[in-house]
Symmetry: C2
Subunit: 118 residues, 2 copies
């Protein structure tokens, strides 16, 4: 079974562009993806899973800079698990705060909408 995807297919799966996926590789966010005989990227299950998690970090607003620190910790092996966990927990707190802010701001906007009457 050959489920390996091309760069465009993988990009589509995560709502990114092929350009962006190559760029992620270029800046070191993901390790170089295995190539086929013609030198083309082939995204296998494991690559897709890594991407899936990274895109979650990204869409929740983690800066690329910090994602780089995370993946570099991961490259160093299991000794860095505590550090990675701490990094994710800090991010989690930021996301929770962001959600709370959005909800508070939304209430103000709702009041404005209401002020326009029906």
């Amino acid at each position: 079974m050959n489920t390996a995807l091309t760069v465009s297919e993988a990009a589509a799966r995560f709502g990114l562009t092929a350009h962006t996926l190559r760029w992620y590789e270029q800046v070191g966010l993901v390790d170089p993806v295995p190539r086929d005989g013609a030198g083309r990227r082939r995204y296998a299950e494991a690559d897709l899973n890594r991407l899936a998690f990274l895109t979650r970090l990204r869409t929740t607003g983690m800066p690329v800079r910090e994602m780089l620190r995370y993946v570099e910790l991961a490259r160093l092996g299991s000794e860095t698990e505590a550090a990675r966990r701490a990094l994710l927990e800090a991010h989690r707190r930021r996301v929770l705060a962001r959600i709370a802010d959005l909800e508070a701001d939304l209430e103000v906007i709702d009041r404005k909408i209401a002020s326009y009457g029906s």
Copy 2:
């Protein structure tokens, strides 16, 4: 009673910089703020209220481009109220969707944190 604030004071109140506040004026996000005898901006109650709402739009992710459309509608008077309301409602839906996305992504991150054990 003179409660009018300087540009820095007003900026501090909204977590912006004086530079940003001047830039908002320059690009037309806010009308030129009344000046004192020395030509310095003096933010009165009404100016601060307008800014308070605009910063809510901004922090909820409305692009400056769209905020401009909103304030231009407001300048046109009460005939544009329906359009303004529609614009805010569309934004409201986007913010709700954003919150939902953040919550879904956060769950994935939580699972990852849990996978690192205690």
